[in-house]
Symmetry: C2
């Protein structure tokens, strides 16, 4: 099967680039002597997890947890605040032999977890500046929650997601250090109160790349580095040529008066995420490249996205060749995590346009 | 099964409101004596199509076409520009007894269609102001394409999607009239050249509601009216109390210092569509209401969306009761078509919080 034969829109994954990205991060983390618990929220694929050589993983949904456990991954961190109802689902998975670990920053929830017959392992979520979830490292509630959790407490975790606001290696380094020092401070508080803290878990892709010192950290949880995207390239945490996924689309119309072509990848196929809008280089809903992934069309950007139509503003200077109806192109993602979410499989390529494998994805919740 | 038992996030569909919306549009179109070919791109459900009593339907993907044909719907318009490869898929469906109709605005494609052994029925796409697809009503290419299509030509179609830019009944009426007059002008050109034009198809939800005169039109294709959303309510084409779908979510965290709660419906569960941003009343990624769909929390809006976390800015004045971890809430959609796209089923409710049915959706391509 060749790319030209695939129904569009669909998702193309370049295995060579993926392998390069996986090796790069494995090295970046290994140089600090800490563990890598890759976040599978973007890839959502056992094939990718296996290629990463991961034994411990992170997930963002219980659907992912069930899927990975079902494929032999036992040590799974569900890194979104747990609820009583979800705790029941985790209990079922763990009763089947898995070791799904959960997180909380809530005192009542801690009591609820500890009250289970066989409570899962728990990390307390620490807020090191993102202000999404977690306790401040010096919040006195930390010790109350730890007290209530008792022996199921395994440590702390934090996610410096605000690092995506960074725009220079210096800024990324500062975010990485505040993520590290905040998590370690919280861990030290717990240890001083007599708790064992075997796990101190941090990491976003930017901070995992930027970190110089990971003293006190036991594991990192980056995820988006596997695929990369235009936004990551823009903020300097991923090379533009190392974007591993793209959407294969077909030309379905021409608007020569507006120097546009219309493609069959619209708002669902590309998502409406506009992350690069916040950088100096807005790349709309993605960058159009040729069917082999080469940047043959200059700055040709999906400027507008209807549900099933993408309007590509062709490069205003570079002459883009006429693309007859049905011509295949690829769209590089603005924000990869959301773009891939619309698809149930990857068409994997190694060289040229031959499809070497089809890898399923687990979507939903 | 009750809403409180459902895993979150998931999609809730209020059947009574849906029925009200279906009846309203059926009446609005019937008063003009034209046919209704509802667009199933939003609902993507045979159960909804059956409730609409539709015999002819419109779809936005070939996955929808296959699904609806497989469930007994024969007269299907695939309303996105056709390509040679997709024509093969349509041919297979039609060989199995379906009557899938396609659209084009391209001369080469017209020749390709006409060259098929058993070409499908074709409508020529007319651009009545949206500038997405289609020929201008007076484009001389219209007659060339018609000539090339020959007997498979069935008529013309247009979609005044730019009507969503309208902000008053007067503007909507103007869009509706330009959609009507443009399509009819093109149809008349074709008839003057000797072509039979049995189908003159137009319609977006706003223009279908606003139209006063549909002279010369044979069918309307609205879709989003089935569900409605905050954006439609904002531009006055759907009553706010008639929004039929919402996302059921669970509270997973509290940020009292920011007057926020965190829910487990984020950027995938709600989409990153921000349609209301273009109105005077930006409602972020959706409005939080209570588990029964009542507006109990005032202006509590999902102001920020991470992949799996939604940050709800609670109403700054109205005191919102404390919602313990695990509390269920619902989020009304900013743009319904994109929000529902993340789900593979509807949990259907009639009264209160009892789940009366589960209806599947067809996603992908």
């Amino acid at each position: 099967m060749r790319l030209a034969d695939l129904p569009t829109p669909c998702l193309v994954l370049d295995r060579r680039i993926l392998q390069h990205n996986l090796a790069w991060m494995a090295h970046a983390v290994a140089r600090h002597g800490v563990g890598l618990r890759p976040h599978m929220k973007t890839a959502k694929s056992v094939d990718v997890a296996r290629l990463a050589g991961a034994s411990a993983i992170t997930v963002s949904t219980l659907a992912e947890a069930e899927y990975f456990v079902g494929h032999g991954f036992s040590d799974v961190l569900y890194a979104v605040g747990i609820t009583p109802q979800k705790l029941e689902q985790v209990a079922k998975l763990n009763a089947s032999g898995a070791a799904v670990m959960v997180i909380t920053d809530d005192l009542d929830m801690a009591g609820h977890i500890a009250g289970q017959v066989l409570p899962p392992r728990v990390l307390i979520e620490i807020d090191t500046g993102e202000h999404r979830g977690g306790l401040a490292p010096d919040d006195p509630l930390l010790l109350d929650i730890a007290e209530r959790l008792g022996p199921c407490l395994q440590g702390v975790m934090s996610h410096a997601g605000h690092s995506y606001g960074g725009r220079s290696p210096q800024e990324m380094l500062r975010y990485a250090e505040s993520e590290r020092s905040g998590a370690v401070f919280a861990a030290d508080q717990l240890r001083a109160a007599g708790h064992a803290v075997p796990i101190v878990s941090i990491g976003s892709s930017p901070t995992a790349r930027a970190a110089v010192d990971l003293a006190g950290i036991t594991e990192m949880r980056p995820g988006v580095y596997m695929f990369g995207d235009l936004f990551q390239a823009e903020i300097g945490t991923h090379r533009g040529e190392d974007i591993a996924v793209s959407v294969l689309a077909s030309v379905i119309g021409h608007r020569p008066a507006q120097n546009r072509v219309v493609i069959d990848a619209g708002a669902i196929a590309l998502s409406k995420d506009r992350s690069t809008e916040a950088t100096g280089n807005d790349q709309g809903f993605g960058l159009m490249v040729d069917v082999l992934g080469r940047r043959s069309y200059g700055r040709s950007i999906v400027g507008q996205a209807y549900q099933e139509h993408g309007m590509v503003d062709l490069d205003p200077i570079l002459p883009v060749p006429y693309l007859p109806i049905g011509s295949k192109v690829r769209i590089l993602p603005n924000h990869t995590c959301l773009m891939v979410a619309a698809y149930d499989r990857y068409f994997v390529v190694d060289e040229g346009d031959t499809v070497a494998a089809i890898w399923p994805r687990v979507n939903g919740w």
